[in-house]
């Protein structure tokens, strides 16, 4: 027999269930990196009402006072651990070097290209950003064109190796982003490069 009191209690519980409760758990950074921080922002003032800045701090997000607590990492719920395991792998970066005023690869970059192709094949739902650079020999305009040509060439290689053209983009940055800072007009082998981000 369900009495009116029990019904009222059930309704109240359902009401509470409908009101969302949330929490946030800050984890250690990847590969030993520091944890960083997550702030709970008070929207009226724009100030922080709480800050989680230690690894394994958890805070319940309610409208009242928020007090982060450190949890034992071994007691992090299975469902949270599963979420972390399901994160995509970190993007991987490759650098290929080029001969002077040329789209020809340096010999020692050939194995890097082999590794790059293997990484592109290994990843599910892969997308690849190819960024070309030059040193500061020659005019800025010529270097814009050369950097783009270098990037396009690597992009073409990846497409020939089976990468979907819609999944890769080539851009040229000319002599703007020097790896080694030099004066204008200077040769610098390290700056003649294509950087590839495999996501």
């Amino acid at each position: 027999m369900i009495g009116p009191r029990l019904v009222a209690a059930l309704v109240a519980t359902a009401g509470l269930g409908g009101c969302a409760t949330s929490d946030v758990l800050l984890l250690p950074g990847e590969n030993g990196a520091s944890a960083g921080a997550v702030a709970v922002i008070d929207e009226k003032s724009g100030n922080d009402s709480a800050v989680l800045a230690q690894a394994n701090e958890r805070a319940r997000l309610s409208s009242g006072r928020i007090s982060p607590r450190t949890v034992n990492p071994t007691r992090i719920p299975r469902r949270d651990r599963r979420l972390i395991e399901d994160l995509p792998p970190p993007p991987k970066h490759f650098t290929l070097n080029f001969q002077e005023d040329s789209t020809r690869l340096m010999a020692d970059s050939a194995p890097v290209l082999v590794d790059l192709i293997a990484e592109v094949r290994r990843r599910d739902g892969v997308d690849v950003l190819v960024i070309g650079h030059t040193d500061r020999l020659g005019s800025a305009e010529d270097n814009d064109a050369l950097s783009l040509k270098r990037a396009q060439q690597i992009r073409e290689v990846l497409i020939t190796q089976g990468l979907d053209p819609a999944s890769t983009r080539a851009v040229g940055r000319g002599e703007r982003d020097m790896l080694v800072a030099t004066a204008d007009g200077m040769r610098a082998a390290a700056n003649r490069r294509v950087e590839v981000v495999v996501r």
Partner: protein, 142 residues
């Protein structure tokens, strides 16, 4: 002035298709969809996501995404997550990223947007606004 604004908006729309992609789906398990306007697209590995999309998973659904600023997401079962705002300039590495978690669970590793400017990345839950200052965390909304 107003005409200029309208023109600017139109110009933005016209040029947006080429830049619409903000991230790629890397992993899908169980039931998962991407809601784009009135369309409900099945989530597929290699599929793209755009600003304004809502990622929704069923009881057994899971979706993982990598964004163009290298931010990574993993959404758990029973989730509803809106990619409300996303801007990223891959030259300056500055931008803004606002995600709304209506329900479910989301693990995040923040990327260049959060790294470059304080609170450029935010996560909204039904009760709170979070400023992301790096790097790896989990949000649950029940």
């Amino acid at each position: 002035m107003r005409r200029l604004l309208v023109f600017a908006l139109l110009a933005t729309i016209a040029s947006s298709p080429a830049f619409a992609e903000i991230g790629r789906i890397k992993r899908v398990m169980g039931a998962a969809v991407v809601e784009r306007g009135t369309a409900r697209l099945p989530a597929t590995v290699g599929g793209t996501v755009e600003q304004g999309d809502v990622v929704a998973t069923g009881k057994d659904g899971r979706v993982s995404i990598t964004f163009s600023d290298n931010t990574r997401f993993s959404a758990g079962p029973g989730s509803r997550i809106a990619l409300s705002e996303y801007r990223f300039d891959d030259t300056t590495r500055k931008g803004a990223f606002v995600t709304r978690v209506d329900r479910g669970s989301l693990a995040i590793v923040s990327g260049q947007i959060a790294h470059e400017s304080r609170d450029a990345m935010k996560v909204r839950t039904p009760t709170s606004l979070l400023g992301v200052r790096g790097t790896r965390f989990v949000v649950n909304v029940r």
